[in-house]
């Protein structure tokens, strides 16, 4: 049934996340540049000049890299779009993820492999057949049930629908991460209230708040029963991943380009282990429990299995932000590394750290690393605790640079 053809696709919003995804075992990553991607506002973002470095890092690590160009495109974006696509072609990015027909057409002209974004809302086999003239991979709409996915996958084989590369069209689907209340992300709430279009990557996420309904006759305000009626919980399919793979999905995508390296590392690692376990026929309940626990430690709004099992209504979040069981608190930044003794030096800029603390280091070279502080030297003297302004050293495996940030992990 499941062969080694499953691809795990991780979100990358910064070089920290890129390294974290590689370290955790992703097969491919996706990222966006400038303003033509769906996370323009929320992620730090790459620029055109970063494409070369991202491509080089991915090639060296032996993974594929995809670039998202999936916003609504206006006339005045065409020049920038062409500049980006030329750079993509030149640097050997493996594919473009798009939904706008201008991007699809330019990719065809420049012969750049194309993936159809979930923004295109592909929900039936005819749509897959239409897009097969341009794309080798189609990301299905997030609202499909497993049965519908399985039908589409079966029909691709039966009708022998092949993409430009000459192989059967592959199906890609989201397996983990944030969902939104709108069908395939086509939401105008943020645009209407704040003039910030979600379809240009500027979503201000006002669906994640509570709302009251006011009776205009009596001016009486009612808080809506489901407090966060527009904010669905996050998608998590690690406990039904075997069914998902059976339905014919071959690219598993994790959402979260605006999230931190700890999120990218943990989610990628858990799904990597799960895919391997299914391939080795060792997918057990104990393992699933362990993955669920680990996934709950990083950013999430509570989990549900999305629409795959045919649920009619979403499950709504119980609070506005993350319900992760752990949270990271910024304490300082890296300053030096002593490679022979494997000791890192950090400057504490906020809060305190003490011996025994769980720490996380995030940086563009090392990605993400977790360490427990076993011994601590403050300004050259052994100590139990360090405060703001102190220079501390402690043993670290990974090489520390000035770009690394040090976080303390605390229970939430």
């Amino acid at each position: 049934m499941v062969k080694k053809t499953i691809e795990l696709l991780s979100p990358v919003g910064s070089f920290d996340c890129l390294q974290a995804a590689i370290k955790a075992g992703a097969d491919a990553i996706y990222f966006g540049v400038e303003q033509l991607n769906m996370r323009t506002r929320s992620s730090g973002g790459f620029s055109i000049s970063d494409i070369q470095e991202v491509a080089a890092i991915c090639k060296k690590a032996g993974i594929r890299s995809y670039i998202t160009l999936n916003t609504v495109m206006y006339e005045h974006d065409m020049q920038l779009l062409q500049t980006i696509l030329k750079e993509v072609k030149k640097r050997g990015i493996d594919a473009v993820i798009a939904s706008d027909f201008a991007v699809i057409e330019y990719c065809r002209q420049l012969q750049i492999p194309l993936h159809i974004s979930t923004q295109a809302n592909v929900s039936n086999i005819e749509a897959v057949q239409f897009f097969s003239a341009f794309a080798d991979v189609v990301v299905l709409a997030r609202e499909l049930t497993l049965k519908q996915v399985a039908h589409i996958s079966k029909e691709i084989k039966r009708k022998h629908i092949i993409g430009p590369a000459g192989q059967l069209v592959k199906l890609e689907a989201f397996v983990h991460g944030a969902l939104c209340m709108a069908v395939s992300g086509k939401c105008y709430l943020s645009l209407h209230s704040q003039n910030a279009s979600a379809n240009r990557g500027a979503c201000i996420q006002n669906c994640r708040r509570t709302y009251t309904v006011t009776d205009t006759e009596t001016q009486e305000s009612l808080l809506i029963d489901h407090e966060y009626i527009m904010s669905p919980k996050d998608l998590c399919t690690i406990d039904m991943l075997d069914q998902l793979l059976l339905s014919g999905i071959s690219v598993l995508k994790i959402e979260g380009r605006s999230k931190g390296s700890d999120y990218v590392f943990t989610t990628t690692q858990c799904y990597r282990e799960a895919i391997n376990a299914i391939e080795d026929k060792a997918y057990t309940t104990e393992k699933i429990e362990n993955w669920m626990k680990r996934l709950a430690t990083v950013y999430n709004r509570g989990f549900w299995e999305g629409y795959y099992l045919g649920r009619k209504m979403g499950e709504w979040a119980s609070q506005p932000g993350s319900v992760a069981t752990e949270k990271k608190v910024y304490v300082g930044r890296g300053s030096k590394y002593y490679p022979r003794k494997k000791i890192g030096e950090f400057l504490i800029e906020s809060g305190t750290v003490k011996v025994g603390d769980q720490l996380m280091i995030s940086g563009p070279q090392l990605g993400m690393a977790r360490e427990q502080m076993l011994t601590l030297t403050v300004n050259g003297v052994l100590a139990d605790q360090a405060v703001k302004g102190d220079k501390i050293t402690f043993p670290v495996e990974a090489k520390i640079t000035v770009k690394d940030k040090l976080y303390k992990i605390i229970d939430n």
């Binding site: 400038e34 303003q35 033509l36 206006y74 920038l80 910030a196 279009s197 240009r200 500027a202 201000i204």
Partner: protein, 73 residues
């Protein structure tokens, strides 16, 4: 004199400033972002002093910017 301070790097090219105040803003065809006409670049910021009678309109433009990268001081 009120001054417009514009952080161009973060512009998403929605064009609302250009629609509201075409005499000061232009959509650049080159990179899809908006350019503040006659402004002086200072690192990543673009700065333009304007007449006092334009202040109210400039504030409305700043308020309409979806990514809040226009400030009036």
């Amino acid at each position: 004199m009120p001054t417009i301070i514009y952080y161009r790097n973060k512009c998403i090219g929605c064009g609302i400033c250009f629609e509201m105040q075409p005499e000061l803003w232009r959509l650049s065809k080159k990179d899809g972002k908006v350019t503040l006409l006659w402004s002086v670049a200072k690192k990543d910021l673009f700065i333009l002093p304007v007449n006092k009678d334009l202040e109210q309109q400039c504030r409305e433009v700043a308020n309409a910017c979806p990514v809040k990268i226009i400030k009036i001081s």
